[in-house]
């Protein structure tokens, strides 16, 4: 029965962006009621664009969308919602200060003018029971974990009566125990004829376990459509990546030298006043890359900030080259040769309204080599900036170009160029390649390896497990503010580290 009439049909969708980029090229998709239909694709394959079109955020240039055989046009997400499409965003579209229940009933046509909370609560509770969600409806959303927030979004869509549920990377934020109950909930939805469309890049196996069919996107085109039974993991990965050769980095052979940084039992609060870092100890030696792998929000951000001097630790000590720097200021640490590359580029690592010269100045403004009597020696600074720009291959019309005009990759090259030459001992690279294209990613990774060659210690923090494994000498999966273990590169197996950062394995095992 199911197989015959698709609930959602997408035909020949094409979307072009200014600058001639074709994000989607005649994409077809067919979803049957109650099926779990995964859409696979790498970053940049067009998944986000497709999702946005299905949810009415973007309008396609060509192509049609049919729901239950009827042609529809979405002008806004509201149109899509009214046609029974629900969306679970990866960047949560929830209101952190409000309760779960308030988030679910907000804007719903059924919500009375004077809210009947009791009735709404019962209805949502019924939904929770039906699909096996377990959540406190009166908790404020900011108090919830990423996985719980996802549940709130799913509940919101279901409460609205969604028959088609689009899920953006649903499994990345889940811990292993959550994954299982999540998959059960998906199966429960199937029984209610609700079609779910998970869009997936990573964590293939979990999705693989439950979905019925798979569509693979690559560079805006559908390259393969197949049933789960016909697919193998290996084949899927090949479809996703195509024949592109993945670059392999040559890890330089470097003598590991003396200890540069020792961190003892460090703990810290997050911005919200929650204990985010719970007693972490480790050390980094010259020429060593120490990689911290973890899902965002497990304390790695706080750890990086404490070491860079941006956040006051709650307890513990930081010893840098034998000196206690726990209370040293950011500037003192910079002068000692500690450099920090923050995860956010514009507005933190670089200032958009400043020229490239002024941006590079951010790391040398205090250096007497570049100023005299309180005034900056712009001639010297410009020369230095020119050198940096060419050395770090920042592509820009001139050194007076505003940083806001740079692409993401160029901006990161600029930030590296600003920080690395002024860093002699320890580089803290926090998510240095997030959001970059392949070429820029490669350039950044090579720079980090060069730092290692120069005998610097590097603290690398990344959500990208492959990156951590590929670059690091020591690897520490972090989970809920603690290192699960510290492994050497040789003993670190991807599956094991992955499970550790998801909280599956305790330190003892």
């Amino acid at each position: 029965m199911k197989a015959d009439a698709p609930i959602l049909e997408v035909r020949g969708i094409t979307k072009r962006f200014p600058g001639g980029v074709v994000a989607l090229d005649h994409v077809d998709l067919e979803i049957r009621p109650g099926e779990i239909h995964a859409v696979l694709g790498e970053n940049g394959a067009g998944k986000t664009t497709l999702m946005n079109i299905l949810f009415g955020v973007l309008q396609p240039d060509e192509g049609e969308i049919y729901i239950n055989g009827r042609r529809v046009r979405f002008r806004s997400p509201l149109d899509a919602m009214n046609m029974g499409i629900g969306m679970v965003h990866q960047i949560r579209k929830l209101i952190p200060a409000h309760t779960v229940l308030e988030n679910i009933i907000l804007g719903h046509p059924k919500t009375e003018s004077i809210i009947n909370l009791k009735k709404a609560r019962e209805e949502v509770k019924a939904l929770c029971e039906k699909y096996g969600f377990n959540i406190d409806l009166d908790a404020r959303v900011w108090q919830l974990s990423a996985g719980e927030q996802q549940v709130v979004e799913i509940l919101r869509a279901l409460y609205r009566g969604a028959k088609i549920l689009i899920l953006d990377e649903p499994t990345t934020v889940l811990t292993p125990s959550e994954v299982e109950s999540f998959l059960n909930s998906m199966k429960a939805m199937t029984k209610e004829e609700i079609a779910t469309i998970p869009f997936v890049t990573h964590k293939l196996p979990e999705v693989f376990a439950v979905c019925d069919r798979i569509t693979v996107l690559r560079r805006g085109k559908v390259v393969k459509r197949l049933g789960t039974k016909e697919a193998t993991m290996k084949a899927l990965a090949e479809y996703m990546v195509g024949r592109e050769v993945l670059f392999k980095l040559e890890k330089p052979k470097v003598e590991i030298g003396e200890e540069i940084l020792r961190v003892e039992n460090l703990s810290a609060l997050s911005d919200k006043g929650v204990l985010a870092l719970k007693g972490v100890s480790f050390s980094i030696r010259e020429g060593e890359i120490f990689g911290i792998a973890g899902i965002a929000g497990n304390g790695q951000q706080e750890l990086a900030e404490v070491i860079a001097g941006l956040r006051k630790p709650l307890g513990g000590r930081i010893i840098f080259q034998g000196r206690d720097i726990t209370n040293a200021s950011v500037l003192e640490r910079m002068k000692m040769g500690i450099g920090y590359i923050p995860p956010e580029r514009l507005g933190v690592g670089a200032i958009g309204n400043f020229s490239l010269v002024e941006n590079i100045l951010m790391s040398i403004y205090f250096d007497h080599e570049f100023s005299s009597k309180g005034f900056l020696s712009y001639k010297k600074i410009r020369e230095y900036a020119k050198k940096i720009i060419s050395e770090f291959e920042v592509v820009a019309p001139s050194i007076d170009t505003k940083a806001a005009h740079l692409s993401g990759g160029n901006l990161q090259r600029l930030i590296l160029g600003r920080v690395i030459p002024r860093t002699s001992k320890l580089l803290i690279a926090n998510s240095p390649t997030v959001g970059l294209d392949i070429a820029a990613t490669e350039a950044v990774r090579n720079r980090i390896l060069k730092c290692k060659e120069r005998g610097m210690g590097v603290l690398l923090i990344s959500e990208d497990l492959d990156e951590v494994l590929e670059l690091s000498d020591s690897i520490a999966p972090i989970y809920e503010g603690r290192f699960v273990r510290i492994l050497s590169a040789v003993e670190a197996k991807k599956e094991v580290v992955g499970a550790m950062m998801a909280g599956a394995l305790s330190g003892g095992g």
Binding site: R92, K93, L94, I95, I115, R156
Partner: protein, 292 residues
Amino acid sequence: MWPFIIRSLEVATILLLAAIGELLTQRSGIINVGIEGLMLLGAASGFLAALIWGIVPGYVVGMIMGALFGLLHAVLSITLRVNQVVSGMGIWLFAMGFVTYWADRYSGPLPPGVVSLRIYGLSPLFFIGIAAVFIIWFILSKTHLGLKIRSTGENPFAAEVSGVKVIRIRYACTIIGGALSGLAGAFLSLTYLGTWSHLPTKGLGWIAFALVMFSLWRPQILLGGAILFGFVWQFAISPESVYAGIPAPLPILRMLPFIVTIVLLVIISSERFRRKWWLAKPEALGVPYIKE
């Protein structure tokens, strides 16, 4: 003593009306620092209207004037996305010039025929002000509309995804906030002062603005704050009605409300309250909503 209490409650009414309007506006994510200007415009237009049509039309016209300039602030800050502080400042500066030009030629008391209605000496607007606080509290905390308004002020993107008309709500709240500020102004010139003199607000609008910050955006606290400041303000103006022998010279007493404001600001900004304050503050306050 009773006249003093009545006068104080009148000041409280002015603060209450203006501040509850600003609270609503801020809850929707728009900050309007031009309350002082809106009050001036409401005071002047209300006064002029009362000269022609009497007291109640005076209130109404003051309110309409406030709404119009609330609308202007909405256009500037929502549609044109001008920095909201700048926009409010501009409206305030304009109001100072415009009101001087428009109303100063009619300086002087209201004619004897134009008298404010009073119940046991209290103006009905005092009760209307309290009712406004209650209504806005009810709307914000109990109704779907209120949930939509709060969501708009917290995270307009999330609100929009849930089908909330962010722009429309922000417009409405800014206009209503303006109307209430205008009414507060009209009440000031018609009932509290009963006369027109050059730029009569004297910083009351700014105190109303500060009150919203103290109240942690909660109407109940705002009500208490407005009454407290009503008494402080009135005491600063006529200390003799409380205690004849107060030794401090008048100008020092007149500083009192402003000093109290600063002290309260310091307390509310302290480490103990800051986290609470940040949680209460509408997260998108002052940030233009740019759909992309």
